[in-house]
């Protein structure tokens, strides 16, 4: 039940070839300190699941530029030209997913559901090769649940048991990814005593969080 770790201990759990979920939305709410350590450690052949690949000089974007990622599942890569370049030159596999579908796929992975039944993507290339289900005459795409070996997320605060609270728009995919990985590393700005976060105000319950690490900013 040792949850508090330093950055070296925490990042050592992320190994070559793993599937890693990374929180954040264009870098906002991204676990930058852990990602910097992943770059320093040089872990490679990663499959990254994230909303986007950020900017070339920031968090997830740097991982891509540093060629540590072999596959990305994301909704948007437009802000990082290097992702597009590696995709076009077949250096990296990129799977583009509608943002709402991605959010639900991650949630489904965490919730023990097989997938998501969504109308989004019907009549587009997104539906290629996917099952469909008709319910009350309406057609839905079956989008499969996503899970990861590790989720690295960012929160504003953790208590010493690992209960998390997020700040404003930095919440985004973080609480969803906290549910969907075998190991969850939460980078936080502040670590507080148990009891300082009211049980009603916890946004991610401690039971999902394996490791808490203090971020560098």
């Amino acid at each position: 039940m040792k949850k508090l770790m330093n950055i070296d201990e925490a990042a050592a759990h992320i190994k070559d070839g793993m599937t890693v979920m990374l929180g954040g939305f264009l870098g906002v709410g991204a676990p930058s300190t852990v990602i910097d350590k992943m770059i320093e450690n040089g872990v490679k052949d990663l499959t990254v699941i994230a909303n986007d690949t950020s900017f070339p000089d920031q968090n997830i974007g740097k991982l891509v530029v540093n060629k540590q990622v072999k596959k990305v599942i994301a909704s948007h890569i437009g802000t990082n030209p290097e992702t597009g370049r590696q995709m076009n030159e077949n250096e990296m596999e990129v799977i583009l997913v509608p943002q709402g579908t991605l959010a639900e796929q991650v949630r489904a992975g965490g919730a023990g559901l097989g997938g998501v039944l969504t109308p989004t993507g019907l009549g587009t290339v997104v539906e290629d090769g996917k099952q469909k289900v008709t319910i009350n005459g309406k057609v839905y795409l079956v989008e499969e649940a996503l899970k990861a070996d590790v989720a690295v997320i960012k929160a504003l605060k953790a208590d010493k048991k690992g209960n998390l609270v997020y700040d404003k728009a930095a919440r985004n995919f973080n609480p969803l990814m906290a549910m969907a990985a075998d190991l969850v590393i939460a980078e936080v700005d502040e670590i507080v005593e148990v009891g300082e976060i009211s049980p009603d105000m916890v946004m991610t319950p401690n039971i999902f969080v394996n490791i808490v690490v203090k971020g560098e900013k």
Binding site: D52, G100, E104, T120, D167, R171, P175
Partner: protein
Amino acid sequence: MSDIKAIIAKRVAQEFSDGNLVNLGIGLPTLVANYIPESIEVILQSENGFVGMGPAPEESEIDPNLVNAGAMPVTTLPGAAFFDSAMSFAIIRGGHLDATVLGALQVDEKGNLANWMIPGKKVPGMGGAMDLVTGAKKVIVAMTHTAKGSIKIMKECTLPLTAAGQVDLIITEMGVMRVTEKGLLLEEINPEFTVEQVQEATEAKLIVAEPLKVMEI
């Protein structure tokens, strides 16, 4: 003639009613917020995770965790609420959004929309666009009528679709076109153009409404 973008944004803003929940896309659609009549309250959603979005802050008030879906600093208005990406797209996909306003690479007379990729050239990803267009009660395309002369309002989209048959209204600097079962109905025209000029800039055959209203510019 006054600024083209302003003409479009101003006209789009007239589509909302008091209490509407609206999502404005990146770029031109963002400008619509500046023209919402003071007599009504429109709640803006930002798909990275909140409702109650306000205007850009003063330089000194910028909060890195408070940005819109294009990563630009914004503010919140009284009564705002933050949530995670699953909730954000539950709002979008679940039909709770009264309108979404977004740009297009192409749109056609069947209400098909293409705005997320140009094969072999530019593949930014669909982000939240596919969910927005699928889920919102009213889909408004707001864009310049042509792209430097090249036609965007088609008989049938040639680019990969964002969604099939979801567009309700197309608003450009030349006029307002509604997607109907019979085709594109030109409901309003900018008095600086003739019907012939609008048709010339449009691949789809326009049905001209009677009476044809004059667009306020």
